[in-house]
């Protein structure tokens, strides 16, 4: 890099890159390699810890296992396609057109983003279970259909894909909308000046520039779907089929088959690595620097006569992902049973009372959840920021390994990671089981890839020219990062913090193996209550969790960051 030649003679600050690199490498190695080591050890040994490949032979020869793999991959791919199909047009409409209520739409998308998928799945059970689902009851009443007829069945493969896509499309939306906010108008202006119609400009100039963001988002959505446990456990099992995660979970049933479970995670690991490689290959071919030192305001397309249609599309999506599910949760929270009609007679505070006063776990679980969410988000974002900086600017030899380490946990399904972490830290040496520390470690490991992916894709969009200017003027690398790059990436950093915070609130599959009486979390309580079918209490708890999370995300978005705030352009 040209900058270092100029920077050295003026370098007044000490460059902490090397020690920071070593420290981070050590932290990430412990976080990631420890559970991975256990995972591999179990996958390639028998219960006596002798080397064997039998686990994989069993895996491949079991038709039920093959079926669960096929279904999971199909499901994840469809979720990715559906998420892109919903999110990309929506993001463009919101960021680049004169669509009314665009701010409001963004807030509602955030709402579906903050919603844990398992809560969404439960809400959709209330809405679209074949017999007791509200939509199906309405359908029978309105069209005078027989009592066993139904319109929707959420307990099906299609229902599962739909319910997961509802809560993963915001990954694509947020990234694409952020990218569109940043795409400079110069190129689009050039295209328009050269006589291209708006559609041509859109398809030839604007869209290609947001492809990296869309791919990154789709990748997160696919990986989320692939490793998700809660929604399939709630929707796929009643339908009578397994996906990989629920299959792995079933291997922990008595008598547990840890070796087979570990082996079943290996193909998932390989698949993920392939996906990430693919993404790199696509992105590697073109330069996508979109945020430089200078650019004009984003262009706004006028929708004209398409405005009502666009509004209808956006509103329809928001109804399905946010408005209907929350309406269902609110109704269930305040009526006796889920099929009770809405009237003053059926209004009750019974569930609220139960959750607030009778149910002893509520307060502790809320406190633990928020504490862990904030801690994980802060630590993870800080580490991700420095790691993605070191990787993007290749400032230290071997920085790439940090990126690999930070991304690796994405491939491990939460439930398997839970076991790996349990084996790693719940032994007489560490004795972390039963403390919040093991959960913090778990969340950091699980959320590191999301944080890193977010920030590294943001770094790919920032040209080093401003940093180089700062370094020429004598700032050290980390000072330049803090004073120049971080404020420029403010939106991404805040978004990452929120991603991670929300990620911890959504987490269920690793958590379920690691919590104890004193380290209960809201997600686990909700899962337990679902097991006993108490939908009223779930609704109250879920709504409480959402109100608090929204508040935290709101505060986070108002936080100043770095040396100064980047004012919005235009």
């Amino acid at each position: 890099m040209a900058s270092s030649a100029y920077a050295t003679p003026f370098n007044r600050g000490i460059d902490f890159s090397k020690p920071v690199f070593i420290l981070l490498a050590a932290i990430l190695a412990v976080l990631v390699l420890f559970p991975l080591f256990w995972l591999l050890l179990y996958a390639f040994t028998d219960p006596a810890r002798q080397f064997t490949l039998m686990n994989f032979v069993k895996l491949v020869s079991d038709p039920a296992m093959r079926r669960s793999f096929g279904l999971a991959i199909g499901m994840a791919a469809l979720v990715g396609v559906l998420a892109c199909a919903i999110a990309t047009p929506m993001a463009w409409l919101v960021a680049r057109t004169d669509l009314p209520y665009a701010r409001f739409v963004r807030i509602l998308v955030t709402a579906s983003f903050v919603t844990p998928p398992f809560l969404g799945a439960i809400a959709w059970e209330i809405l679209a279970a074949p017999n007791s689902g509200i939509f199906n009851i309405l359908y029978r009443v309105l069209f005078d259909r027989p009592t066993d007829d139904y319109l929707f069945n959420i307990y099906s493969f299609a229902g599962l894909v739909f319910a997961i896509a509802c809560y993963t499309f915001p990954y694509v939306f947020t990234l694409v909308a952020n990218a569109l906010d940043r795409v400079p108008s110069d190129l689009e202006d050039a295209s328009a000046i050269l006589g291209a119609k708006w559609l041509t400009t859109l398809s030839r100039v604007t869209l290609p520039m947001v492809v990296p963001a869309m791919l990154a988002g789709a990748l997160i959505a696919i990986l989320q779907a692939l490793t998700m446990f809660g929604s399939p456990a709630i929707l796929a099992l009643p339908a009578g089929f397994h996906v990989i995660t629920t299959k792995i979970w079933s291997l922990f049933q008595f008598p547990p088959k840890l070796e087979l479970a570990a082996a079943a995670a290996i193909p998932l690991l390989i698949l993920t690595i392939l996906l990430l490689r693919g993404q790199k290959w696509i992105l590697g071919r073109k330069g996508y620097t979109v945020l430089g030192g200078k650019s004009g305001a984003p262009r706004v397309t006028e929708l004209g006569k398409f405005k009502p249609l666009a509004l209808l599309f956006v509103f329809g999506i928001l109804c399905l992902t946010v408005i209907f599910p929350y309406a269902a949760l609110i109704k269930t929270a305040f009526t006796e049973t889920i099929d009770a009609s809405i009237s003053w007679d059926s209004f009750t505070l019974k569930h609220l009372n139960f959750v607030l006063f009778d149910f002893s776990a509520t307060r502790l679980a809320l406190f633990n959840t928020l504490l862990l969410g904030v801690l994980t988000a802060t630590v993870c974002t800080a580490i991700s920021l420095v790691v993605s900086y070191l990787v993007a600017r290749k400032s230290v030899m071997g920085a790439g390994i940090l990126g690999v380490l930070a991304t690796a946990p994405v491939a491990i399904p939460g439930i398997v990671l839970g076991v790996g972490l349990f084996l790693s830290y719940a032994n007489p040496t560490f004795k972390l089981y039963g403390t919040l520390w093991i959960l913090l470690i778990a969340f950091m490991t699980i959320e590191m890839p999301a944080g890193y992916q977010q920030l590294s894709s943001a770094f790919q969009g920032v040209h080093p020219e401003l940093e180089e200017a700062s370094r020429i003027l004598g700032a050290s690398r980390l000072k330049a990062l803090w004073q120049i790059t971080a404020p420029m990436l403010r939106t991404s950093v805040v978004a990452t913090w929120c991603f991670v915070f929300i990620g911890t609130i959504r987490e269920l599959s690793a958590t379920i193996l690691l919590t104890t009486a004193n380290t209960k979390l809201v997600s686990v309580i909700i899962y337990d209550l679902n097991e006993s079918g108490d939908l009223g209490a779930i609704s109250v708890l879920g709504l409480m969790l959402m109100v608090v999370s929204f508040f935290v995300v709101y505060i986070a978005s108002k936080m100043p960051l770095g040396a100064g705030r980047l004012q919005p352009r235009g």
Binding site: S132, D148, G240, F254, D528, E531, L535
Partner: protein, 347 residues
């Protein structure tokens, strides 16, 4: 009170009493010293698979009886309790004092691992049928319950309702049933084994073609009935149905003509209990008439205590054709049961 009861029992059931003498110990008594020592420990941790409302109520009753000792109730499904105990004890974490699940196989496993303490309360030795406690005194049957067919009486007429297991195979019930999972629920594991012995696996193969809604815990099918998601349960806890009936939900139980599977829920003190005296006191309370009567009245559970009076309207066990559990046979068949089940039901 207990002394008087014991005297009556000693006189009236002399035969059973002398048979029990073969077991060297007479069971431990609740002495003032034990209560004092328990009070010093202050807490007892109870890992249980009984419905949370029932278990919490039991804990409160104990706290009233012995002020100064707190009961910490940790409720989860049987297999989850088992998994947690396994995780904790094998990694040297000793949290639990008393454990209770509805899968009898668990206690064989615990015993093999030497995780259980020996010594039963006096009342168990005196009152319980001999086959309902461990000959080495490491665990005893704390509760029993049935896995039953049940239906919504407002959606299905009594004359149309199934009378037995074979009736569930009628095409008219296709898409109408809900059932729990043997890999998750100890109750259903026991029931599945018993029914497969009785009717063969063809029965499940046919049932699997009926588009059955599959849930996990055996507490869940009754709740799906209450929600109206399905009008008929192929299996599920009897005690949850009793509780629904008490709450006024229009549900009826069918005791199948072929027989109804019985599940025994054992309880034990852990060898490395952190509060050994409180554990002993609480353990003996679990088997007291008061606790057992509470389980029956409030929880709808069945008891082996001969003094327990069941609520009017509930069919007494002696009038039901029961399929008794076979722990040894079931333990040997575990893998096969799960594989077959997945083959026929998909999960």
């Amino acid at each position: 009170m207990w002394g008087k009861r014991a005297a009556i029992i000693a006189l009236t059931s002399a035969v059973a009493w002398s048979a029990n003498l073969a077991y060297a110990q007479d069971g431990y008594k609740v002495t003032p010293e034990l209560i004092e020592a328990a009070r010093k420990e202050g807490t007892v941790v109870f890992y249980t698979a009984t419905d949370v409302a029932v278990a919490e109520k039991l804990g409160k009753t104990f706290e009233e009886e012995y002020p100064g000792i707190k009961v910490q109730v940790e409720r989860a499904g049987s297999e989850r309790v088992f998994q947690r105990i396994g995780q904790e004890l094998s990694t040297g974490v000793y949290n639990a004092d008393v454990v209770e699940t509805s899968d009898a196989v668990h206690f064989q496993m615990f015993k093999k691992q030497s995780w259980l303490a020996s010594g039963l309360p006096e009342e168990v030795i005196k009152e319980w049928p001999k086959e309902e406690y461990d000959p080495d005194g490491q665990f005893a049957a704390y509760r029993a319950h049935l896995s039953v067919i049940a239906y919504r009486s407002d959606m299905i007429k009594e004359e149309d309702a199934p009378k037995g297991l074979a009736d569930l195979l009628d095409p008219k019930w296709k898409g109408k049933m809900v059932k729990a999972h043997p890999g998750y629920s100890g109750t259903i594991m026991t029931a599945t084994y018993a029914i497969s012995k009785l009717l063969g696996w063809e029965y499940f193969e046919k049932l699997g073609k009926q588009e059955v809604m599959q849930v996990q815990s055996s507490t869940e099918p009754p709740k799906k009935l209450a929600q109206g998601e399905r009008p008929l349960e192929a299996d599920g806890n009897e005690y949850n149905v009793f509780r629904l009936i008490d709450d006024g939900v229009p549900v009826k139980i069918v005791y199948a003509t072929e027989g109804t599977p019985l599940t025994v829920g054992n309880a034990a003190i852990l060898a490395k209990a952190p509060h050994p005296n409180a554990a002993k006191l609480f353990y003996s309370f679990l088997f007291s008439l008061k606790a057992q009567q509470l389980n029956s009245d409030f929880g709808g559970l069945r008891s082996f205590h001969p003094g327990v009076k069941e609520k009017a309207g509930r069919t007494p066990l002696k009038d039901i054709k029961l399929l008794m559990p076979d722990v040894a046979g079931q333990e040997a068949e575990l893998e096969n049961i799960k594989a077959k089940y997945e083959e026929y039901f998909g999960t």
